[in-house]
Amino acid sequence: MSAGDDRRDVVAIEASEDIIRARRSGRDIARSLDFSLADQTRLATAISEIARNALHYGGGGRCEILGHRAGVQREITIIISDAGPGIPDVAQAMIPGFSTGHSLGMGIPGARKLMDRLDIESRVGRTMVVMTMVRRFTT
């Protein structure tokens, strides 16, 4: 694959405007890879959910967006990390209805339903959420 087929962007998450910047960037990359409008909306919403967690509970962090094209397959990976106190029980955080604060409740399970895959790695001082969406195009 030539480098021209890959897209990458990094957004620092320090204020609520950055959440919007991150999801707009995600949408742009998804559009450039021909993801449908519905998938663009799913992706932007999932980024919004997780980036807000990083801002409110991790004290800020960064959001990396990677777009990759390989033959008929298009893949977007989002990596959102923060240096906050960490999620005590990651398995529980995946279950709908679980909440550590006033608005965290739907964040992770909601994003997980919108994406194909969502993985969490968390300890005190570092939390990383990796999400991917993969589509195949035949035309």
């Binding site: 999801r23 519905a38 807000r52």
Partner: protein, 132 residues
């Protein structure tokens, strides 16, 4: 930046700008409640046509605003939701329960008038209610 809240007869009307931040959304919520307190309006329309992303945080703000407005004696209708936003909310497991929605501003105004009439005991203008 302050999001303008318009008054149309006895209805308040506000349109949420695209890419509204959390702070602006919360500010708008307080502004609406303040205006309700000052004026004798009976209904509020929140138009979200411009939003191409509604995450669970924004959904919560919208649902809360509707509940708060109702507590203050007015009715709320949310109009103009993008169809793909609706799809995404449902897929996430968010339903906005207890919130009345309408597709267009026109339908929103009609729905609001109807709700107010029904609440105040007047016969509704259209015989639509049995299904509401």
């Amino acid at each position: 930046m302050r999001i303008p809240i318009l008054r149309l007869g006895n209805i308040l009307l506000t349109s949420l700008p695209p890419d509204i931040t959390d702070e602006h959304a919360e500010r708008l919520q307080s502004d609406i409640l303040e205006r309700l307190d000052q004026t004798a309006v009976v209904g509020v329309i929140l138009d979200i046509t411009a939003l191409d992303v509604v995450d669970s945080y924004m959904a919560r703000i919208l649902a809360e605003t509707a509940q708060m407005t109702r507590l203050m004696g007015s009715e709320v209708v949310i109009t103009g939701m993008n169809p793909l936003v609706a799809v995404t909310l449902i897929e996430m497991g968010r339903e906005l329960t207890g919130v009345t929605t309408a597709l267009t501003l026109e339908q929103g105004v009609a729905s609001l008038k109807h709700q107010i009439a029904a609440r105040d005991g007047d016969p509704p203008e259209d015989p639509v209610d049995e299904c509401g």
